[in-house]
Symmetry: D2
Subunit: 399 residues, 4 copies
C-alpha cells in the first residue's frame, strides 16, 4: 500500500567504538551548542571530550566544567584546539562548529587542515566564495563535512522523501514551504543573547531570517522533493521590531522541471513557534509535514480517504524512516531525537572514513558541505533578487 | 479580556414578513443555486417563489417542480421573469443570480431596471467595465445589491474582523491567505457539469481559479483586516489537468499602509477540499481562521498561551459574531449556516429599503456591489501582472 | 477499499409535495423548538403551519407571529390543536413535540388519536409504562412516530454504522461512549430558562443527565454497533452546582454477545460543550466519531496508517451516508444539517404512509418509538442500578 | 493569569560530577533497558558503566559490547554485580532494574543491601508484601529508590500538577484517566519478545494491563490531582487475542474527599498507540493532557476561551515545568526527554544523598518506592474487586 518493502531493509552498522567530539562555541549563554552535545550523546556514538567553548578564558573554564571536560582539553582558541587535538593520540574525531556564522569558515578550515572531520551549523558561511572554498577543501581532503539541517533527520521527513522518490505522488506539480517564528517580534533583550548576533550583518552576512530559518526551509523542500531549487524572486521585510536585516521573506520559486513553489519565512509572526511546514502536491497525491508534529506525515491520495502515517515500525513506514526509529509508535520522538539521528549518521560516516570502509549507497542521507553551499547560494540569490525589485534570480549551484 | 461588550449589543430586527426570492440559474445539474435556496430557507426570512432555472423549457419545468414553484412562475427567460415579476403584486422582492459569470451583468441589469434587489454570485462580472456599470446602476437606483462572498458571513470571521478593528492585534504587520482545492486536478467529467464552464474563458473571463476561489480569498483578507489590497504581483499556473486558464496562482500583495502579504490559490492541490485559511499577524497578536473549522478562531497574544475562541455566546465572543449565532457552542454551524447568515443580512437590508427604514450603521456587514467590483479588479490586476512577468500591478479600486 | 458500493446506491425519493408540520412547544424563550423548525425548513420537505407554542395566550400569539403562522392556527391548547387540525382539509401532516418530558405522552396520544404522525423529543416519556403505551399505540395505528436522536442523522454516523455492519471492524470487542457538557456546572439562571425544568424531577422524571444526554449516548452506541445494550451498572453523581438530580453518570455496560463497554455523561465538566464521542474497537479495526467534528470518521485498521473518512461523495464514503449529503467535501455540514437529515427521513416516511406507499428496506434509519422506549428503559435501569449500589441491572427491552 | 511566578524560580543544582549507573536487564532483544540508558545519557548526569544485561553469558557479553561496557563490568548475575560493584572504588552509584516484574524485589534487595541506590521499573513487585518490604528497606537504609512512572516527568504534567495545587481549577469534581494501546490485540509473536513475559502470570503477577499500563494511569491521576485513590470497583476483560490475564480493565474509582472518577486501560484497542489521557474537572476549570501530544496542556476556564499552554519558557508555564525544559517552545520534547527528566531528578537525589546534602522541599517530584507500592496495591485491589464481581474495594495504602 505504501513504500514499505520497496527498499531492502538495512540498519546502520553497529558502532565499533565511541567517537570523540570537540566543540567550538557553545559556552555559557549560548544555546545551540548544548543541543548538538545532547543529540550526540543520545546517539550513543559520541563522547564530548574537548572544546573551545569561549574565547573568554573564565567563561571557557566554567563552561568546560559545566560540560565536564578535562581541563587540559578546554581551549580559548579554536586554532590551538585544532592543533593540539590533532597531536593527541586520543584527539577528537570530529569538531562541531556552533559559533556565529561569520566564523564558520575559518574554524572549519583550521580543523580540515588538521584532518579532522567537521560538523557545522548552517548557514555554513556568510558568502558564497567562502562556501565554495569549503566545498573545494572537503573534496580535496575527502574529510566528512556535515551540516546540521537537522529537521531533515526526522524519521518522517525521510519517509516523505522516500515516498516522493518511489513515485507515490506522481509528478510533483507544486511545492509550498514555510517557517514561522515569533521571537524576533520584540527587540532583542539581554536574556536572549543569541538575538543580538543573529541580526548583526557583521556576524551573519546579508540576511537574518532568510539565512537563519530560510536555509532550513530551502533545504527541506529540496530534500523531500529530491529537486534542486533553480530560481527565485524574493521580497525581504522587517515585520517585527526595527532591525538592520530582514525578519521576514516572501518568495516565489522554481524547482527543476520548472515546478513552481512558494517559500515564506518569518521570525516576526505572533503566535508561531517553530512552524516549519512543507506541502508537496503531485499528480496523484499530496503530502504535508509539520515540524511541530514531527512524527506524523499526512498523505492524501486523490479519491481516497486521507491517511496519517505515524512514525513507528510497520503501518506504511518505509525503511529510510525505520532506520532512525528508536521509540515505539505512540511514544513521541521530538527534536532531540532528530539531533541524535543526524549525529548517528555523522558517526557512521566518520567511523567508516577513519576505518577506510565504504558505506552502502543510500544508507546515509545527511546534509553535506554541498548542501551547505547551496543554502548560501539561496541566501545570496534572495538578497540579490530583493535588491533588484524582486527579479527572477538564479539560485542553482552547479557543483 | 476580549472584545465582548466593546460594542453595544444589538440584534437584527425581527422580520416583518417573509420576503419573496426568485432565482436565475440553479436548474437540475447546477450546484450553487440550491445552496442559495437552502440558505435563504434556513434564514427563515425568505420564500422562494419564482425562477428562470434553465433556458431549456423542459429542464426549467422539471426544475421548477423540484423546487415546488407555481408553474406560472417558472420562466425560461430571465428578461421575461424580470418583467412579469415586477408587474405582479406578489412579485419577488429580490433575485438571486447563480448562473455562469458572463451572464451576471445582463441579468443584474434586467432586474435592477425593474427595481428588484439583487443578490449575485461572485465574481459579479467577467470584466471591470461591466462591474463598474453595475456599481453605477446600484448607486443610481439605491437598490440592494449583495454579493455572496459567503465565507465572510461565518460568525467567527465577524469575530476576527471585530477583534482587528478593536486593536486586539495592534498594527497589522503581515497577512497570508490561501484557498486550496483538489477538484480541478483531474479533467472535467460529465458528472461534474460545473467543471466545464468554470474553465471556459468565454464564460468566466480571463481567469479560472483566480476568479473562482481567488476572489473569496481576496475578499476575506480585506474584510477581516479592514484594509484594501493595493497592489499585487502574480504568477498564474496550470498544476492540474491541462486547461485554458489558471488553476493555481501565487501572489505577493500589499495592503494599505504598505502591509505585505501573500495569497495562494489552487484548485489542483491533491488532498485539499476547501482549504480557505487566513492568517493575520499584528504587533501584539496573531489570529488564524480556517474555513474547514469555521467555528474556531485561533488567537495568540505574544507572551500568552494560545486561545481558541469558540463560536457561542460569551467566552470572548463579541457582538458582531453573536448576532449571527443560532446554535449553542458545541453544536457546529457549518456552511449552510453562513449562507443563512448572509441571506438574513440581505433580508434585513431589502426589507428596510422596501419599507423606507434606515439601518443602524454597523449592523449589517454583507459584501456589496463595490466589494464585487473590487474582486473583478483584483482578477484583472492578477492577469495583467502575470502577463507582465509578475510586475507589481495596482489593484485598488477607487469608488 | 471501504464500503462504498457494497450497497446499491439509492437516493431518497423526491418529495411529491411540501408536508405540513405543526409544533407543540417552542414558544419564546424555548430553545429546541426553533431548531426543529429550522431543520424541517432546511430539509425542504416541510412547511411549518400551526402551533401550540405556549399555553399562555399572549406568548402563544407573539410566538405565532415570530413563526409567521396564520393567526387561526396559533393554539394555546395542544388538545384543541389536535382536534382542529385533524378537521382541516389542509391540516398538519405531523406534529413535532418539543415540550418538557413529562408532557410528551399526553400530547403524543392526543395527536395519534387524531391520526396525525408524531415527531417527539427524547426521552419520549418520564416512565417506562408511558413509553410502552406509546409503542402500543403506534403499533395499533401504524402511524409514523419518530424520535429526535438527531446525532444519529449525521452522515458520518451512518457511515460508521454501515462500516460496522459490513464487517470492516471484525467482531466488536469493546465500546466506549461519552457525552460531556459544562452548562450545568453553575446554578440555573433566568437567561437559561431550560436549565430550570431540565433538573426538575416533576418535569423530567427520575434523572437529569442520564435522560437528557445519556439517552443520546445510549442510542448512538447502539445505533452504530447495531447491538442492543443488555445491562448496566451505574453511579449517578452531582458534580456541578447542587441539584435534585444527577448531572453526571458513570456506567459499565454490556451489549449483545456480552460485549463490554463504558458510558460517561456529565453536564458539569468545565471546558466541554457537546462532547459526544463514540469509540468502537473491533478485532480488525477501531473507529471514532466526535460530534464536534461531525464530518470526520476516524478509522484505524490494525497494521495500516490511520484514515480519516471525510464527509463527501467518494473517497470511502458509502451509500447510507451519501444519501444525506448536500454540501461538497470541505464545506462543513453542522448540527442543523443533521436536523435537516432527520426531518428528510421523517418526511419520506410520512409521505409514503399517507400515500400508501412502501419504503424500501434500509432506505430510512431514523429513531422510532421503540428506540425511544429503549431510551426510557435505559434511564430507569440506570436509576435502579444506582439505587442498588451499582448492581448489574438489565436494560434490554423486548418489544 | 496562570501560575507563573506563584512559586519562586529555582533550577536543579548543577551536577558536581557524572554519576555511575549500572543495569540489570536490558540485553539484546529487550526494549526498556535501552530507553533508560538513553534517558540517563540525555540527562547528562550519568555514565552507564556496568550491567547484568542477561543471565546467558553469550548474550551478556554481546550486549555488554553493544553498550560499550568494560568487559570486567559485564555480569551474568545481578548478585555478583551488586557485590563487586560495591567493592570497587569506582563502583556504580545506582542500579536501574529493567527486568520482568517478578524479579524486581530480589534484585532491589541485593543492591539496597550493598548501599546502592535503586531505580526500578513499575510495577515494583508482583505482590503487596514484597512491595511493603521494599518500602521498609528503603526507609531503614535511607537510600534513594525511584520508580519510573516516567510520564509524570513530562514538563506539562508538572505544569498540570502545579496548576491544580495552586487552585486554578477550584475544588476537583471528577477525574477521568485512560491508557489505550493496540499491541496485545494479536497474539504475541517472536519479534516481540516482551509480549510473552508481559502476559505470563508467573512473571507479572495477577494482572497484565492493569499492572502494565494501569499503574501508569493510576499514578498519573493521583500525581496531577495531588489526591490518593481510595477505592475502586473493577472489571477485567480480555478483548484481544486469548491470554491468561486481562488486556483491558474498566474501573469506577474514588479519590480523597469522595471525588469520583473512571479509569480505562486496554492493550487491545485497535488504532491506539500510547493513548494515555488525563482529564480533570474542577469547579472553575478543566484540564486535559494527552501523552501523545506531551508538550500541550489544554486548560479551560468556565466562561473563557480555551487555552493551550505550550511547553516553553513564559506564556503561562510555571516553575515546576520550567525546571525541566531544555528545548525552546516549538521544538518538541518527546518521550526520551521525559526519561532524561526523571533521570535528572534521580541524579540530583543520588548525588545529594552521597554528598550528605539536603534537597529543598518541592524541588524534586519523582515517583518513590511508596508510589511504587501504591501501584501494587492498586493492582491487587483491582483484581480483588473483579473477583468479587466488581465490589467496591479499598485501594488506599497507609504508609
Amino acid at each position: 500500500m505504501t513504500t514499505q518493502g520497496s527498499i531492502e531493509w538495512k540498519p546502520f552498522p553497529a558502532p565499533g567504538r565511541r567517537l570523540r567530539l570537540g566543540f567550538v562555541g557553545g559556552g555559557r549563554g549560548a544555546f545551540i551548542g548544548e543541543v548538538h552535545a545532547r543529540g550526540a550523546k543520545l546517539s550513543n556514538r559520541w563522547d564530548v571530550v574537548a572544546g573551545a567553548l569561549s574565547s573568554d578564558p573564565e567563561v571557557a573554564r566554567q563552561s568546560g566544567a559545566d560540560w565536564m571536560l578535562a581541563p587540559d582539553r578546554v581551549y580559548t582558541s579554536y586554532a590551538e584546539m585544532a592543533e593540539r587535538e590533532a597531536e593527541r593520540p586520543d584527539g577528537i574525531d570530529a569538531v562541531a562548529i556552533t559559533t556565529p556564522n561569520n566564523s564558520h569558515h575559518a574554524i572549519a578550515v583550521a580543523f580540515l587542515d588538521q584532518g579532522i572531520d567537521v560538523i557545522c551549523e548552517k548557514p555554513i558561511t556568510t558568502n558564497l566564495d567562502d562556501a565554495l572554498d569549503l566545498v573545494e577543501r572537503q573534496r580535496k581532503t575527502g574529510l566528512v563535512f556535515g551540516v546540521t539541517h537537522t529537521y531533515a533527520a526526522h524519521a518522517m521527513v525521510r519517509q516523505a522523501r522516500e515516498m516522493v522518490a518511489a513515485g507515490e505522488l506522481g509528478r510533483i506539480r507544486q511545492v509550498h514551504v514555510e517557517y514561522a517564528q515569533e521571537w524576533a517580534m520584540p527587540p532583542p533583550s539581554p536574556d536572549r543573547k543569541g538575538a543580538f548576533w543573529r541580526i548583526d550583518p557583521k556576524q551573519v552576512g546579508p540576511a537574518f531570517s532568510t539565512a537563519d530559518v530560510g536555509t532550513h526551509a530551502h533545504h527541506l523542500a529540496c530534500f523531500v522533493t529530491g529537486m534542486e531549487m533553480t530560481k527565485l524572486r524574493a521580497e525581504l521585510h522587517v515585520c517585527g521590531a526595527p532591525k538592520p536585516l530582514d525578519d521576514t521573506a516572501f518568495m516565489h520559486v522554481r524547482f527543476e522541471d520548472d515546478v513552481p513553489g512558494t517559500l515564506w519565512v518569518s521570525q516576526a509572526a505572533a503566535g508561531t513557534y517553530c512552524a516549519l511546514r512543507l506541502r508537496v502536491f503531485g499528480e496523484r497525491a499530496g503530502l504535508e509535514w509539520d515540524q511541530e508534529e514531527p512524527g506524523l506525515l499526512h498523505f492524501n491520495r486523490l479519491g481516497e480517504p486521507p491517511q496519517t502515517i505515524v512514525r513507528g515500525v510497520g503501518a506504511g513506514v518505509g525503511n529510510s524512516a525505520r532506520r532512525l526509529i528508536r521509540m515505539p509508535r505512540g511514544h513521541l520522538e521530538g527534536s532531540i531525537d532528530a539531533w541524535a539521528n543526524i549525529y548517528t549518521e555523522f558517526a557512521v560516516a566518520v567511523e567508516a572514513r577513519r576505518d577506510g570502509r565504504t558505506i552502502d549507497e543510500g544508507l546515509l542521507d545527511y546534509p553535506t558541505v554541498e548542501d551547505g553551499a547551496r543554502g548560501v547560494k539561496f541566501v545570496e540569490a534572495a538578497v540579490e533578487s530583493h535588491r533588484a525589485g524582486g527579479a527572477w534570480t538564479d539560485c542553482r549551484l552547479s557543483l
